[in-house]
């Protein structure tokens, strides 16, 4: 039986061997054929010589989560060959280099080996050793076009665009593709029963990673200052900001730049620059990961207490300490939400798709200005660094930035007595002024020390307490402003809560559970502090699951703490191995809870 547009292919390579661009081209080619795809780069914290994998999930049904079963393995790394072979599902296909005869380590007889003498093919055609290495990747790409029935013209046109201007590279690349293709057509049974075909499924969707989308969101959201310090997996966001700002933010008349980027000396300085710029009225952000958040905590407390807008992108990776720097996790929630000494808390946003990275990035600058406080956008490595199928980015040209309560010189003229921290509107948010605005009104001293409503230093207990209470009332305002949780409910008995990239496998998990007679209402958390709908959802469900990619159930802790819940009211489903959480895992955990607790299902399942 032939299946179309539904498989997982995994490429096993050595990093630094040029495989990334060939593998990326593979995923993009399928996308260009209109097929929904998601890609995952599983890479080591190393520049050259260690194993690296690239997974592509091809799914007409639009299941984009990681799946444990691999249908096709392209095993190009001798070192990991054995375990790569073991990863294949029974009946899966193994594409390997057969130059040295059939690999003796190939022990399984329940898989389909597809041997191609890749090294020998390349050897005969290319002289330069570096080219030989690079073109091995292109040759297996050529083989795959035949095996999977990929539209060859799509791939060749991609090669032509990729090397535009470097024409001398186009021909050899296409030649390498053809070597692979003609070998497959002459010596292999093509195409396989697992194959692709053109699809109409995509519509106008795009194939993009979350960091690039977030960088574009920052550009559209009006960010002018980016200060950062390199750290995987956030680096590509700052780099994408620079790359796109150079296209989109150049003054037509003068060629001057309407943005400034500082690669700071460390994360402390990066956030310091952001805070200085925010204080002086420019929209500013930093992109970092857990270790950077740790370094930024003192400044986060300052920005909270002094009420300075700032936007931080935390592209989370596996901790603690350096942890697994190239693996994904959702484990910085507590560190981010309550960052800094003293009574502090910060609004968090949890994007789940690249499109949402764009939207939340742009919105974060409005929230920061409105709430005069740091906003942390909690992305992760899986979302930030991997290209996947997502809604096209959209912008309403009528939209104006919400710059919050900033008084102009004319407005200051109307004000009798200016008090920076007066809660005039009852929402906990005072009016601020920018340096240099007015000759005689509105100047005030910003400090991290206690002050009264007129920004005058004081240690009076009442003034301090009043100020801290006002910050709490601002926190209540944040609850209304930030995006509400996304809920699907049919008043079922059980519900499942998730956030960020734990949403990716959820459609598939729910389908698996449905087959097993378990139906769940769902709630996707999009922001902290939680809105009223969150407690309502929990109250309305007898059984509540919460999916998280950390060990300590950090979101649950926050809910227990902030919503005054009994810890037993939420059943945690925790995965923290550093790969992105899979649909199978979530479904299994839910099912085993049902089994252990003898909970009746909707349908009777015969086992």
């Amino acid at each position: 039986m032939t299946t179309y547009n539904d498989f997982v292919i995994k490429f096993a390579n050595v990093n630094g061997s040029g495989s990334a661009s060939a593998n990326g081209m593979f995923a993009k080619a399928l996308f260009r054929m209109g097929i929904p795809v998601a890609s995952r780069n599983i890479f080591p914290s190393n520049i050259q010589g260690l194993p690296t994998w690239f997974e592509v999930r091809v799914s007409e049904a639009e299941h984009f989560g990681r799946r444990n079963e691999i249908d096709i393995m392209v095993a190009m790394n001798a070192e990991t060959f054995e375990s790569d072979v073991a990863d294949l599902r029974s009946g899966g296909y193994l594409l390997f280099d057969s130059t040295k005869g059939r690999d003796p380590r190939l022990a399984r007889d329940d898989i389909e080996p597809v041997g191609v003498p890749i090294a020998r093919l390349v050897m005969g055609e290319f002289q330069d050793p570096k080219q030989r290495q690079l073109f091995k990747n292109i040759v297996y790409l050529g083989v795959l076009t035949s095996l999977l029935n990929i539209d060859f013209s799509v791939i060749t046109s991609m090669v032509s665009t990729q090397y535009k201007g470097k024409d001398e590279l186009i021909q050899p690349n296409i030649h390498a593709l053809e070597i692979g293709r003609s070998y497959a057509e002459n010596y292999l049974e093509c195409p396989l029963p697992i194959q692709v075909r053109h699809s109409e499924k995509l519509g106008d969707r795009i194939f993009i990673d979350g960091n690039t989308a977030a960088a574009l969101g920052a550009i559209y959201g009006g960010a002018t200052v980016c200060a950062w310090y390199p750290i995987t997996p956030s680096t590509s966001m700052a780099e994408a900001f620079e790359q796109h700002a150079k296209q989109l933010r150049i003054d037509n008349d003068t060629s001057q730049r309407k943005f400034a980027i500082i690669q700071a000396e460390d994360e402390l300085a990066a956030l310091g620059v952001v805070i200085g710029a925010g204080w002086n009225g420019a929209r500013a952000f930093t992109a970092t990961s857990g270790p950077g958040i740790s370094l930024m905590t003192e400044f986060l407390g300052l920005a909270y207490f002094a009420e300075i807008p700032a936007v931080l992108f935390d592209i989370q990776r596996a901790g603690p300490s350096t942890g697994m720097p190239t693996r994904t996790q959702q484990a910085d929630l507590i560190a981010a939400a309550y960052a800094s000494h003293g009574d502090t808390k910060h609004p968090l946003l949890f994007p789940a798709t690249p499109r949402e990275c764009f939207d939340f990035a742009a919105n974060a600058f409005d929230y920061a200005d409105r709430l005069q406080t740091p906003i942390l956008v909690m992305s992760d490595l899986d979302l930030g660094m991997n290209e996947t199928t997502t809604e096209a980015l959209a912008w309403d040209d009528a939209r104006l930035y919400d710059r919050g309560k900033v008084l102009s010189s004319e407005e200051l003229d109307e004000v009798a007595t200016f008090g920076r921290y007066l809660d005039i509107d009852g929402d906990g948010i005072g009016y601020r002024t920018l340096p240099g605005t007015h000759p005689s009104k509105g100047a005030f001293f910003t400090r991290g020390t206690s002050r009264d409503e007129f920004a005058t230093y004081t240690e009076a207990p009442e003034a301090y307490t009043q100020n801290m209470d006002r910050l709490l009332s601002k926190w209540e305002t944040a609850r209304d402003i930030l995006p509400a949780a996304e809920i699907t409910s049919q008043n079922r008995r059980a519900g499942i809560i998730y956030y960020g990239t734990s949403a990716t496998p959820m459609s598939e998990s729910l389908a698996m559970l449905d087959e097993q007679g378990v139906e769940l209402d769902t709630m996707r958390i999009r922001a902290f502090p939680f809105g009223a709908e969150v407690i309502e959802f929990i109250d309305n469900h007898e059984i509540v699951f919460m999916v998280e990619q950390n060990r300590d159930a950090q979101m649950k802790m926050m809910m227990v703490n902030e919503l005054d819940l009994l810890p037993s009211s939420i059943q945690s489903i925790l995965y923290y191995g550093g790969m992105s959480i899979s649909a199978d895992f979530i479904a299994q955990e839910v099912l085993s809870y049902y089994q252990v607790n003898n909970i009746p299902r909707i349908k009777v399942i015969s086992t």
Binding site: E265, D266, A269, F445
Partner: protein, 351 residues
């Protein structure tokens, strides 16, 4: 030094400047520092300089870290916004503030603890980045606000008030600033307004990073060796020790001396500070010469004061980054948002 004009004698508080303001309009709130603290003299010098330059007093951004010195931006230019940030991190905050609006005069005030210890990394990097600002370190060779611990600008061998010697090598911020590329580097003494005021004016006029290390005695923790003394001193052991707990008002120490001469100043702790003023023949455009000069003088126990180095055609961070002439904080939606049509193009590039 032609660009350091001699100040005219005038009644400073009453006389109107070119924009019709008096020195009063450049003052800040009443200082809460110890009476006689050198830092107050620095604030006064800033007040005088800004008044004499007739800059509208609200067109400054004042930034500082944490320390007695870092409190001082409250005590000058009350019509301007100030930001007392966190310990040692003023340089990054100032960088951000300057990026947002290059039209404001940016003044950063820090201490020797703030800039030479906890913030030494940020200090070095703001110098490298050429932020267009006046950066003053009120250098008292001690941690005033935390009550008199050694700071990194103390000379090896100088002793604390308990007689404990400093065992570590000093950091000289002037040498460091010269080394990592400051385009204006000066040293002065808080009590020498004749020298300090013109230096502040020249620094504010300078485009690029201007650094002034101001030796500014801490009268409170005066029975140990502060950095002012530890650079050069001839110690006299006869002076009376003042109990740190006993807050006695001190007279502000002021000195006046001619270029090319040496002035010995009695410090509150009884030590002697030898200030050597640069002679009129000194060439302030030679960076390596300046470095040598500073270090040779240090070896002799002298603290060189005056304008040590200036690059009159220096550039600043905004030039390096090629940012718009309109300050970034004044750009609006039409400047910043590329719009939906451009986004269509962006989307197309991801298909």
């Amino acid at each position: 030094m032609t660009f350091v004009p001699k100040p005219k004698v005038r009644h400073p508080l009453l006389e109107f400047n070119e924009i019709g303001l008096t020195r009063r309009d450049y003052e800040g709130s009443v200082s809460t520092l110890c009476a006689g603290c050198g830092h107050d003299s620095v604030s006064a010098a800033i007040t005088i300089a800004c008044n004499e330059m007739s800059i509208p007093p609200h067109r400054f951004a004042k930034l500082s870290g944490i320390g007695c010195s870092s409190k001082t931006p409250s005590y000058f230019l009350g019509a301007s916004h100030g930001f007392n940030s966190v310990h040692g991190r003023m340089p990054s905050v100032a960088t951000g503030a300057n990026l947002a609006n290059h039209e404001l005069y940016c003044i950063g005030v820090s201490g020797d603890g703030d800039s030479a210890s906890i913030g030494v990394g940020q200090f070095a990097h703001i110098v490298r980045r050429k932020v267009n600002m006046l950066y003053i370190v009120d250098n008292n060779g001690t941690y005033g606000l935390t009550k008199g611990q050694f700071s990194a600008t103390n000379d090896r061998g100088s002793t604390s008030k308990r007689g404990v010697p400093n065992l570590y090598s000093p950091i000289d911020l002037v040498s460091m600033a010269l080394q990592v590329g400051a385009s204006f580097v000066a040293r002065s003494f808080s009590g020498d307004k004749t020298q300090l005021v013109p230096l502040i004016k020249a620094a504010l006029m300078h485009k690029g990073f201007a650094f002034i290390d101001v030796i500014s005695p801490c009268v409170m923790f005066n029975n140990h060796n502060g950095s002012t003394k530890s650079y050069q001193y001839v110690r006299e052991h006869t002076a009376a020790m003042v109990d740190a707990q006993l807050i006695t008002p001190h007279e502000e120490i002021s000195v006046e001396y001619a270029p090319g001469t040496v002035k010995e100043v009695d410090m509150p702790d009884g030590s002697l500070l030898r200030l050597r003023k640069l002679s009129e023949t000194y060439d302030p455009h030679d960076r390596i010469g300046a470095l040598n000069h500073v270090q040779r003088a240090q070896e002799q126990g002298d603290v060189i004061t005056g304008l040590l180095y200036v690059d009159p055609i220096a550039s600043d961070l905004h030039e390096v980054l090629e940012t718009t002439s309109t300050p970034l904080n004044q750009l609006v939606e039409s400047d910043l948002c590329p719009g939906s049509e451009a986004l269509d193009g962006v989307n197309a590039s991801f298909r």
